[in-house]
């Protein structure tokens, strides 16, 4: 439902009535075919929101060319006709589909639902009003979002980096960080937006690729690249791409002389005032909750934090203050894409938990007639040629195409449609299939990427196998791109139709295979993430086996006292353990480890071995790896020899016990990044900055006379944690920056510990006398992670943490179907993020477990037993390990060998087919025969 806003949510969890206001689109979605003729004719131009005002759009438009749904809309504010009845109307005239409806009106819907998920997202901070950066005054000062559009090939400059003011090629560009973030004076947003550091680096690197020789400088306070593989990316940007990083706060942006160049002034690390001139300045604008989302929060009656984000708990990060209403994405705190996707899945898990009893009540499957077996019949091909209004017929001579098509072998029926995709054309095709007993269909129209599903459904409705249709792309790849040469376009259309006809002739009916699913889950690791995941699955009604190596549940959370927002961890963990242990659907296997695993999605079989050697075999449909991580044991800073140099975890214990050294100590020095962000371990442990700041606040609050120093490299109190950093500074905690090449030196001198470090502000070595030194130790991957990695064939990344399938879009999935990852096993993260990820993993697992069987795509690799002889050339090329070599006749090695393809693991990529010298394996729907026939047909003219 697009152009819709929620105006009211009545009722309560499980039974809401939501009022939705739908704005008029003025275009009939059922009729619009997305051809774009209307936009071409529309005389009115306005700024494009999509291009962040860098480009123009018309009054009738689509947001962007790949938009879903690809249906045009009229902006009533801009439309000449809607503003002035009786004028213009150019779009209506040109629309062959008759989709324009100027009389469209606003509609109100009342919808009953069981739960509501709020994911309204963010808007970027608008720096116009704050003045200092010159945004809105100097045309060459732009926001990072606008810069993103300038880089894009679909953007206003087609990806060429030129200045807005005079279209001069950009040579020098500066990025100013924290515009609209960490700054209460100018924008009122005290929090850190978390994503801008990384996106600035990315933009700088890509801009350098776009225009070689470009100089890029990033001006920052702290580089907060705390995500997975982010620090490596920053190092590469610095070392390989040559992006310059300057730690400072830029005083302001001014115009340099009479030209459009921009002058920045700042105080550099040596304390000198510096001025630099740039062609373009990019403001890394922060994220904030948009006004419409604030209204939504008001309408939904949920609480917000002081920073205007939805208030949630660390142990229930998607639950809002109103039961049954959930919040996710950047609405619940600034998030990058992978965190957003994770929280989306987490919200799904929470909803699933709430509504589990009503599962499958409202979802329905369409029913189709029985399929006709056409395998014995010779091909009878029907070809439908689409005019697509004038989109095709305006260029291609469809009449001639039709005459030509009728001469092709096995073509028994040809018909032209104005719009092949319209509902009446669908009905007509079904009718023709039956009356002409057609058994293969070619539709010459637009792209199979968008329309093949539609025509497959049409074939199913007609009782034909859905794979017996082929599309000839004579619009997107012909009439639209050869508009000026109708003759060539017509002859190419003939080729394309001939190719499609040839291909469909050797198409076979394909069946999608189904594999039964064991509706049980296995969770490996009994820490916070493991328990949350297990509990969520169990609450949804699935049996869960939870495996824990030690004799105690809780994992690393047992070492923690408070979350960043101040929730008491031991209480929450105890509650969680209690729920898990007593849950009737959860079987806890303490002191067990997974020692063997076999099977595939929906059908895993894992063997657990207990400490006493006892073995248990568990069958499960999905598995979640939540094995956590280890603490780094420092080798540096004389940790071994000086007793009062302790790790952060040890310090928490000592502090809690009010141990005598802590009690008496006056001077505390925290050293950050111990074992993180350095050679061989180029990653950020993410939680230690916040942790040290919290400890420092505790010490200062208890006794303001204590001296607390934090030696840091970049302070990474991201998101709303920034408030803690601010509080610590207010309380007098002293923050001293050090660089990797000037690490602090820690020595013992009788009763005091000397800490020497280079002070960047004072430009001299600083000597601190400490009574206690606390090392913020790194989080290390589990040393035995590789064992599990081998057992389930799930990969480990370079840092030794488990590697997800896609860093952004599939953050909790493994590339092996049916296996998921959550918590520290994936990467260092806070409890809140672990919980979110655990819920997400559960949601993803439940998408499988909620079904009795999983249907696999019909396009898959099949072994031709006549041709395959087990040479094993294809075994290792399969990216999914779906191919195994077996004896042709079981237990008779003399009878030769052949391969077996596990259908559940095969994704149909065809790499095996491309490797085979003897046609021993083929991909259904893309057989060697089909492809070669197509090639032959293409060259036949």
């Amino acid at each position: 439902m697009t152009l819709c806003e929620v105006t009211d949510i009545a009722g309560r969890a499980g039974n809401f009535t939501v009022t939705v206001k739908e704005a008029p689109r003025y275009v009939d979605m059922g009729k619009c075919i997305g051809c774009g003729d209307c936009t071409e004719k529309c005389p009115k131009q306005v700024d494009s929101e999509y291009d962040a005002e860098t480009g123009k759009r018309r009054a009738i438009y689509v947001k962007y060319l790949q938009a879903v749904p690809l249906k045009y809309q009229i902006d009533p504010e801009a439309c000449i006709r809607l503003q002035n009845i009786g004028t213009c109307g150019a779009c209506e005239e040109v629309c062959d589909a008759g989709a324009i409806n100027f009389g469209d009106i606003e509609k109100i819907h009342r919808i009953d639902v069981g739960a509501v998920v709020l994911a309204p997202g963010f808007e970027v901070f608008d720096p116009t009003d704050s003045g200092v950066w010159g945004y809105g005054i100097f045309p060459n000062v732009i926001t990072s979002l606008q810069f993103e559009r300038y880089l894009s090939a679909s953007g206003p400059t087609k990806g060429y980096l030129v200045r807005p003011s005079d279209s001069k090629a950009v040579k020098k560009v500066a990025f100013l960080q924290c515009v609209g973030s960490r700054d209460e004076n100018l924008c009122g947003n005290g929090y850190c937006s978390s994503v801008c550091c990384m996106s600035a680096i990315k933009e700088a690197v890509i801009a350098k690729e776009h225009s070689p020789g470009l100089q890029t400088s990033i001006f920052y306070m702290d580089m907060r690249t705390h995500g997975k593989e982010f620090d490596q990316y920053m190092e590469r940007a610095r070392e390989t791409s040559g992006v310059r990083f300057v730690r400072c706060r830029v005083n302001g942006v001014e115009k340099d002389g009479s030209r459009d160049d921009l002058r920045l002034s700042y105080i550099n690390e040596e304390g000198l005032q510096v001025e630099e001139v740039y062609d373009m300045v990019v403001l890394s604008v922060g994220l904030q909750t948009p006004k419409h989302a604030l209204k939504l929060a008001y309408n939904a009656d949920i609480k917000l934090t002081g920073d205007n984000f939805a208030a949630t708990s660390d142990f229930a990060p998607v639950q809002t203050s109103r039961e049954g209403i959930f919040a996710c994405g950047s609405f619940a705190g600034p998030k990058n894409i992978s965190q957003s996707v994770t929280s989306g899945s987490a919200a799904a898990a929470a909803v699933s938990d709430l509504l589990a009893p009503a599962r499958f009540e409202l979802s329905a499957d369409a029913s189709f007639p029985d399929e006709k077996d056409v395998s014995a019949d010779g091909p009878r091909i029907g070809v439908f040629l689409c005019h697509c209004g004038s989109n095709i017929a305006g260029v291609v001579d469809v009449e001639a195409l039709g005459e030509y098509t009728a001469t092709l072998p096995d073509v028994v029926y040809v018909e032209q449609n104005l719009f092949s995709c319209s509902q009446d054309s669908q009905d007509m095709i079904v009718e023709r299939i039956q009356e002409q007993s057609l058994n293969r269909i070619v539709v010459a129209a637009c792209s199979p990427r968008t329309h093949e599903p539609l025509f497959r459904k049409t074939l199913k409705t007609a009782g034909l196998n859905e794979y017996l249709v082929e599309m000839a792309n004579i619009r997107n790849q012909n009439s639209w791109v050869h508009t000026a040469d109708p003759e060539a376009a017509t002859s190419k259309a003939k080729d394309l139709v001939r190719m499609a006809v040839a291909r469909v002739t050797c198409s076979d009916s394909l069946k999608s295979i189904s594999v039964p699913i064991t509706q049980k889950g296995l969770v490996i690791g009994g820490g916070t993430a493991g328990m949350i995941a297990a509990l969520n699955m169990a609450e949804q009604g699935f049996e869960v086996h939870l495996v824990e190596k030690t004799d105690i549940l809780g994992g690393n959370a047992l070492n923690l006292k408070h979350t960043w927002s101040g929730q008491h961890v031991p209480t929450e963990v105890a509650k969680l353990v209690d729920k898990v242990v007593w849950h009737e659907k959860i079987v806890v296997h303490r002191e067990f480890e997974v020692t063997a695993a076999e099977g595939f999605v929906g059908n895993f079989k894992s063997t657990l071995t207990g400490r006493d050697g006892f073995k248990r075999t568990i069958e499960h449909g999905a598995g979640i790896i939540a094995t956590g991580a280890e603490q780094y044991i420092p080798q540096e800073y004389n940790y071994e020899s000086i007793t009062r140099v302790v790790t952060s975890v040890q310090f928490d214990k000592l502090y809690e016990l009010n141990e005598v050294h802590v009690r008496r100590a006056k001077n505390f020095v925290f050293i950050q990044c111990v074992g993180s962000r350095e050679e061989n371990n180029m990653y950020c442990s993410k939680v230690c900055c916040t942790h040290s700041v919290q400890s420092a606040i505790g010490l200062k609050k208890e006794n303001p006379n204590r001296n607390v120093y934090i030696l840091y490299r970049d302070m990474r109190t991201y998101g709303q944690r920034e408030a803690l950093y601010k509080q610590a500074r207010k309380l007098g905690v002293i923050f001293i920056n050090y660089e990797l090449h000037g690490k602090p030196n820690v020595t013992e001198n009788g009763l005091v510990i000397n800490v020497e470090v280079w002070d960047h502000i004072l430009h001299r070595p600083l000597k601190l006398e400490a009574d206690m030194v606390i090392l913020a130790i790194a989080i290390r991957p589990m040393s035995d992670a590789s064992t599990l990695s081998k057992l389930y064939k799930v990969p480990l990344g370079g840092d030794g943490f488990f590697q997800e399938a896609h860093a952004k879009l599939r953050p909790v999935d493994f590339s092996v179907d049916g296996m998921f990852v959550a918590g520290l096993a994936h990467f260092p993260k806070s409890i809140e993020e672990s919980v979110s990820q655990a819920l997400a993993a559960s949601a993803r697992a439940v998408t499988l477990l909620s079904k009795r069987e999983v249907f696999l795509d019909g396009i898959t690799a099949i072994v031709d037993e006549q041709n395959c002889d087990g040479c094993a050339l294809c075994v290792d090329v399969c990216p999914y390990n779906a191919i195994t070599l077996v004896d042709r006749i079981a237990d008779d090695p003399d009878a030769g060998k052949l391969i077996r393809v596990n259908q559940a693991q095969c994704k149909g990529c065809g790499i095996c087919q491309g490797s085979c010298p003897k046609r021993g394996v083929y991909i259904t729907g893309f057989t060697m025969e089909q492809i070669s026939t197509q090639i032959r047909a293409a060259l036949a003219a």
């Binding site: 087609k158 990427r449 790849q477 639209w480 791109v481 060539a488 994704k907 065809g910 293409a938």
Partner: protein, 136 residues
Amino acid sequence: MGFEPKIIAFCCHWCAYAAADLAGAARMQYPHNVRIVRLMCSGMMHPEFVMDALSQGADGVMVLGCHLDECRYRDGNYRALDRSDMVVELLEDFGYEPERFNLTWVSSQEPDKFVKAVTEMTVRIKKLGPVNDVQG
């Protein structure tokens, strides 16, 4: 009479084929010499197709796949890369100019790159002349 070459382009369903669709939506114009054969992955391309196409009169063959590390099937495009390097060398053995083959990475968001690739290929093949001339 100008020589109008025939070029077969194997396009990965997920990226290059999508880019070609998008080029259409953006009404970008490019030479009409290319005939696209859709594959699920550039890794599906059997080198045999290249030789078949050339021996049946195609004047050039292109393979267009996703950017490295962005393959839908993990590393299918790396397979395509290895094979393509090999095909280029073997073309000489079989008496074809290596320039008749081209491998390009195009993401689904880069219609401009697709257009550029096919345009350049067409120009290159026009310079080379028809494929039959070199067959000995």
